[in-house]
């Protein structure tokens, strides 16, 4: 990959959260424990690409997304946005940068202020970043973005409060609030998981069109691999704060190599009763990230694990063009 077409480069990103201790235990030991939510994650996203970040709850996918945007300050690592190291930026520079780097949150019932009208919600970023010179320009911008997210006619929605909107319409307002800033990069954190199946595709279509028209690059965070399969160009599977496999989406679905990815793929239910697929369901659940297992973090649940897996942590290696796997048994 040449760095020209790179929108985002993440190198060895870490985010550790200290575990709060009780008074007595803090007297007894000095060692602070950490939840290693993100523990050495590296990947690159090309311009205009939709990069999927998938995994079970608690694997660190949302923390990764927030740390990239510096909504959480990383513990270590580097983040380059359009070639620039954003961890070096000061507060005001970062604020300017944020205009280009945006996020769409999961829950439209929580992410938009219930006391503000649609017009207030969407004008807030315009005011903060001084995007409009005159009130009429601002109004025009709001109307245009509402039409873009298919809340038409805009006049009908502009004075409404969130409680007067359906879940799908709320999420469209949240998307509009993001798009109004003309970002070039958006982290979409489970943008459809709270919505009904019948309206999910509508929200995705708005996002996909914004990519086509404005060339927006997306990181699509999801636990639903079936959606990732239809939306993303490339994808990474995370487990306990690490990327275990990364490949073009087609390869990830059809030829998964890491035992965890294989387990995930076979566990996804298929809406087709004619497909009788063999199920090898692995046992157990994701362990706590406070003291993750030694060596390969997946080894206690892995059907292929041997001695080396509990001793040494596997490096992530490129197996074939663009297909990266971190597993002793694959290499």
């Amino acid at each position: 990959m040449d760095s020209e077409g790179l929108e985002l480069k993440v190198v060895d990103l870490k985010k550790w959260f200290p575990v709060r201790k009780g008074f007595v235990s803090s007297l007894l030991s000095r060692k602070t424990e950490y939840v290693k939510a993100v523990d050495g994650v590296s990947f690159e996203v090309e311009k205009g690409e939709i990069f999927g970040l998938a995994g079970e709850s608690g694997c660190g996918k949302t923390t990764t997304g927030k740390t990239i945007l510096r909504l959480l300050e990383p513990t270590g690592g580097e983040v380059y946005f359009q070639g620039q190291d954003i961890l070096d930026l000061g507060k005001s520079e970062m604020k300017r940068m944020r205009q280009k780097m945006q996020i769409i949150y999961q829950d439209p019932y929580e992410s938009i202020n219930p006391r503000m009208t649609v017009s207030d919600i969407i004008s807030e970023p315009i005011n903060i970043h001084n995007l409009a010179d005159t009130p009429s320009e601002k109004e025009e911008m709001i109307h245009k973005v509402l039409r873009d997210v298919e809340l038409a006619p805009p006049e009908e929605f502009i004075q409404r409060f969130p409680h007067e909107l359906s879940g799908g319409q709320r999420q469209r307002v949240a998307v509009a609030r993001t798009l109004i800033m003309q970002p070039s990069f958006v982290v979409a954190d489970e943008p459809i998981s709270m919505l009904d199946v019948s309206i999910r595709a509508g929200i995705l279509k708005v996002m996909l069109r914004s990519r086509e028209v404005r060339g927006i690059t997306y990181i699509f965070i999801t636990h639903d691999l079936a959606y990732a399969r239809h939306i993303c160009h490339r994808g990474a599977i995370m487990y306990l704060g690490k990327i275990v496999e990364m490949a073009p989406m087609d390869v990830l679905v059809k030829n998964p190599l890491h035992p965890y990815t294989v387990a995930l793929m076979t566990a996804v239910p298929v809406p087709d009763p004619r497909l009788e697929h063999a199920r090898a369901i692995i046992g157990g659940e994701v362990p706590t990230p406070i003291n993750p297992p030694s060596g390969c973090r997946f080894h206690p649940r892995c059907p292929k694990a041997t001695d080396i897996c509990s001793r040494e942590e596997p490096e992530i290696v490129e197996i074939e063009n663009g297909h990266y796997v971190a597993c002793h048994k694959v290499i």
Partner: protein, 323 residues
């Protein structure tokens, strides 16, 4: 609809309304449904279509403002909708029919050990000693694949998947023959979901249970059930065996729902959404309730409510296109 000779469950034209200050919410509005003994039915539809209300009416667990307006529910030939509450509690609820509640995370009492909570259900319904009830709780834990010693745990000491298994064990406490599972896997991660569905499937076969699975996830229905009923705005719009529903759906809503649903096994494609939103059940649309969102709407659809059409082989759909 769906003619069984000796149905275990027979819902006859059930209408269940919630009274609110703004008027009656017609959550279940004329549902006919039969289930054969040993069958597994998937009840699928969007949120707010009345799935849970239908299930709660069967269990007679409706909130105070909910009431049955019309119709009846027969269980094993006996009308349970009019039955005296005492008799229903003593002989039916939990003894013959039980319920796996939605959201296992919050359905357990946090201040009691999970084993005690299961034993409590047994002690209420059967005249056994506490010791026997605890033994039975341990046995049930084994059945759903949890270490029997975990009966001494509190809910917060268990993971989400384990709590869901405890809920299943609790539903099985009094050896029911009919079980309703309401979104049993919705809050679970994909691998744990697969584990839980496997437990449910195995138990159903092993214990010969009749099961109604309520879900918004068609892929879960496809993997677990033998028949499927699609519900929309308080009515069942289509009913068929699982293969027919997916390969030869007749109702436009079923078709739209299936094409909105992504499969990991198919090639990358553009997903279709259904325009509009489900109607407000205070004032549902006249005629066919799907008509405002239906791409094939005709004049008659806004005027007349469609009747069920028998498409053969136990396949029923309510749509004017089929007249």
């Amino acid at each position: 609809m769906a003619t069984c000779k000796m149905p275990l469950l027979d819902v006859r034209g059930l209408k269940m309304y919630y009274s609110t200050l703004k008027g009656d919410v017609k959550a279940v509005d004329g549902v006919r449904l039969q289930m054969e003994k040993g069958g597994s039915l998937g009840l699928a539809g969007e949120s707010g279509c009345g799935k849970t209300t239908l299930a709660l009416s069967i269990m007679r667990l409706l909130p105070w403002n909910g009431r049955i307006v019309d119709g009846s529910i027969l269980f094993d030939g006996v009308d349970i909708s009019e039955m005296d509450e005492k008799i229903f509690t003593r002989d039916y609820r939990w003894k013959r029919m039980s319920y796996v509640f939605q959201g296992a995370m919050n359905a357990l009492n946090p201040v009691f050990r999970v084993g005690d909570q299961i034993a409590e259900a047994i002690l209420i319904h059967e005249s056994v000693k506490k010791k026997e009830a605890m033994d039975r709780a341990r046995e049930l834990f084994g059945l759903v694949g949890i270490d029997p010693d975990r009966t001494a745990s509190y809910p917060h000491e268990l993971s989400g998947g384990m709590k869901q298994r405890v809920m299943i064990a609790m539903a099985l406490a009094c050896n029911p023959d009919f079980i309703i599972a309401d979104e049993p896997t919705t809050a679970l991660d994909v691998i744990v979901q697969a584990q839980t569905l496997q437990v449910i499937n195995d138990l159903r076969k092993k214990l010969g249970l009749t099961m109604m699975l309520i879900t918004h996830d068609l892929s879960v229905v496809a993997e677990t059930c033998t028949t499927c009923a699609i519900m929309y705005a308080g009515k069942i719009v289509e009913y068929a065996d699982i293969e027919t529903i997916f390969t030869n759906p007749a109702h436009p809503y079923t078709k739209a729902l299936i094409s909105a649903f992504p499969s990991i096994k198919e090639e990358r494609r553009e997903l279709e959404s259904i325009s509009g939103a489900p109607p407000n059940l205070l004032n549902p649309p006249t005629g066919c309730r799907f008509n405002p969102r239906c791409p094939y709407r005709m004049d008659v659809c806004t005027r007349e409510e469609p009747e069920y059409v028998d498409l053969g082989g136990g396949h029923f759909a309510a749509c004017h296109l089929l007249d």
